[in-house]
Symmetry: C2
Amino acid sequence: MSEEKEVFAEISPADFFYRNRDIAGFSNPTRALYAAVRELVENSLDACELHKIPPEIYIRVIQEETTPSGAGIYKLRVEDNGSGVPARFIPSAFGQVFYGSKYRLRQTRGTFGLGGTMALLYGQITTHKPARIISSTGTRRIHEIEMMIDIQQNKPEIMRHKTHPNPEKWHGTIVEFNLEGDFLRAMPKILEYFKETAIVSPYMSLIFVDSRGRLYRFERATTKMPLPPTETKPHPYGVDVETIRRIIYLTDARDMQYFMTRHFHRVGRTTAKKFLECAGISPKTNPKKLKQAEIVKLVQKMKSYDGFLPPDASCLSTLGEELIRAGIQKELNPEFISIEVRRPAAYSGFPFIVETAIAYGGRVPKTGDILLYRFANRIPLLYDEAGDVSWKVLHTLINWKHYKIGFDLPLAAFVHVYSTKIPYKSVGKEYLADRPEVEREILNGLREAARQLSIYISRRANIERDKRRLDAFSKYLPKIAHFSTDLAGKEEEPDIKPLLKSVMKYGAEEDEEEA
Amino acid sequence: MSEEKEVFAEISPADFFYRNRDIAGFSNPTRALYAAVRELVENSLDACELHKIPPEIYIRVIQEETTPSGAGIYKLRVEDNGSGVPARFIPSAFGQVFYGSKYRLRQTRGTFGLGGTMALLYGQITTHKPARIISSTGTRRIHEIEMMIDIQQNKPEIMRHKTHPNPEKWHGTIVEFNLEGDFLRAMPKILEYFKETAIVSPYMSLIFVDSRGRLYRFERATTKMPLPPTETKPHPYGVDVETIRRIIYLTDARDMQYFMTRHFHRVGRTTAKKFLECAGISPKTNPKKLKQAEIVKLVQKMKSYDGFLPPDASCLSTLGEELIRAGIQKELNPEFISIEVRRPAAYSGFPFIVETAIAYGGRVPKTGDILLYRFANRIPLLYDEAGDVSWKVLHTLINWKHYKIGFDLPLAAFVHVYSTKIPYKSVGKEYLADRPEVEREILNGLREAARQLSIYISRRANIERDKRRLDAFSKYLPKIAHFSTDLAGKEEEPDIKPLLKSVMKYGAEEDEEEA
């Protein structure tokens, strides 16, 4: 038997994700429809928030036909009032994998620059119809482009390009395309996604019309926009040889001291000088003259030097305690909420902030477990919970007995991670890796929230005991007072109120429940 | 404030994975060293098995220097006796993302054609040293290539290319490069990986020399190689519009009947004819003349037509009951093993086979949980267990009470999935998606194994009861026999053996334990 020889071949990025769409979250008609909606809504929200425009999103799903396999062909239309995409970028932004505006150190929902194109690609392979993109950046023209993706070449194919006048200076983007999906099964997740997005983006207004024509409206609670996240430079802790090489290639710095302050996060003249001294590199060295071995040494020193300031989280845009409370209140109306907002921290040079909360009672359902709500850069994460670092913290790292909190209680935990780089474990953006630094912050946050809840619960138990004692006293004391007054032959019964008050160790329950 | 405009940019596939190495399993020095070893060993095993060569793998880790951050710089060398890589393919196979020999419908360990390049890329960004590849396909020359990766261009950069004579017709590949890693922490996982790989690939011989010079030898238990997996055509159920379009572009078929039989798995002339009739397409139609709408219809019909034969799993190369038993026996020496090998099934047109087993007692540790061993195409999966479909089946879908099996017992479950396309959820190849068809087979397999174990355990309980009863009888019966013989004034005591035997409902325990 002659041996079969290996055939080597190159495939394009689009082809790779076409073949492996599971890893981008497009594994079946249910999940794919959910992922498509999600990716486009996230693009829309990014396009608004980065420019401080209060988002107005309109999503419409129309059933075009039913397929014999149970799923259907749907037309999905997502409209936003964001900054718009300049006409010359539209084809590549939606028709080329690894092309986008998200490849920067900035807190955005999108991270891989992949979602919009994946959605269109999935639509194309299931329906083979072109997609339509309508966009304007508020100039005199609105551009309308019909396109498909050449998957093997990873290139957009423009079928038609029309322009319309734009007298009202409309800005925004409309994406419309067909895809196979199982709307009935995807519906609960899609609604849950909208609901949770509305909680963490209360300045968003979203209208959704489903395939039966039912309208769902998520109105904004405020027009106050958070400060847009800003772009940052890389922190010295997070760089590698490749990054340094690229910066050296592009830099206009002629000496290392300026090089350090110019290109790195939180490095001033003094820090740069001290660091270079410690690294044994003269501040006058021309960065372009560094040898390979010196670059490697430089990177190692950067990772181990302890004189750098920690990453500054002011580039991150978080919710804050008040909005967290408002969101949870609206959703679950719990009896008690404990919130712990952690201080900024960093992993591999990326700043991040963790917000945690635990809600108890009210509309929180009893499930025999603790409900977990996860968010990352304002994205609700709904799938693959058991693979997430927060799940690991909740179920394996926290000793709930220590807090005298049992899972027979109605409990819900909230974890929100913000970062210029969320450590997603998959391209589908559904769960976070257990980076030690991130894990520690989540753990400390939830522990503190659990501690507060523990205090509340034990106080409540004390109050209940108080109340029972008080009930007993208030039942018998009046009688005793009455009888003893009788026995003593007096007319006026003694005032028992001060006595009753004295048995209450924890005060009246009405006052305390508000605490 | 003038609005910041979006900057659009294209990045190369290598750049994408450089920026997002978490998703390929290279998230920290520990995990990265493990992933690098694993990816290269898997390439080596594929290069042997596909050509029926009993693998001889040699792996060496040498510490080059310690870095101040705790991790170290290591030289990793992996040698195999596989088919070798032809010289002209070496640079791209190891220096270009999305270039490889794995983009075919065939059961291989590798699936993404990414691992080897990712390992070298990670080595380069942490040490900035070139990698060395030595390979020969058994020709007169051995090629030695020193190279680096141009990450921004996704292109190999050859630094040196030497050839050596090959008088002994050696074939195989040697990869050697430097990378940052945390060997002490990665070591347990690496050894576990080798141990489990040895279980499922008993024809493999593997020698590993660790950074302290200790040698670990995993000797082969057999030289009998399984039949190499063969390549298959796509099954009609699994295709999409894009696949059909590509096949139409390349086909030499002039009519649809031949087109169907020529390019699809398990479609003969009769099936083709019946299907085309049902789809309303004439068997004489020239495939190249099909309109877009007709292609879409064709694909929809392919997915819903119920007259196709199911995918044939003969292209898959499984372990089988005997080897499974031998492997588990060697590793855990349990008291009882129940094995259930499922019949071939298919998801999205990809054939797959699930093998399951449950081991009880012996060296299986009591953990308060059931230990889970997961394998996919002979790869042990060691990370992210809770995200895997098998974990879901074990912990949420099987009602263990029904089988009277408690997790206080020493239990271990084994799940092995074979397919031309393993439904990995991430590029890091650590856990499988819960495709309904795959989930069902795992569930049914584990249920059957649990049923057998349940019978064994309840029999064992019966036998214990028997034994206790027998003990009581054998204690008192001889005395009763003795006294009554005395009382009756006889000399010879009656034979009590038949009596004792009659009280044993389940037979002698020695015989039964073997069952």
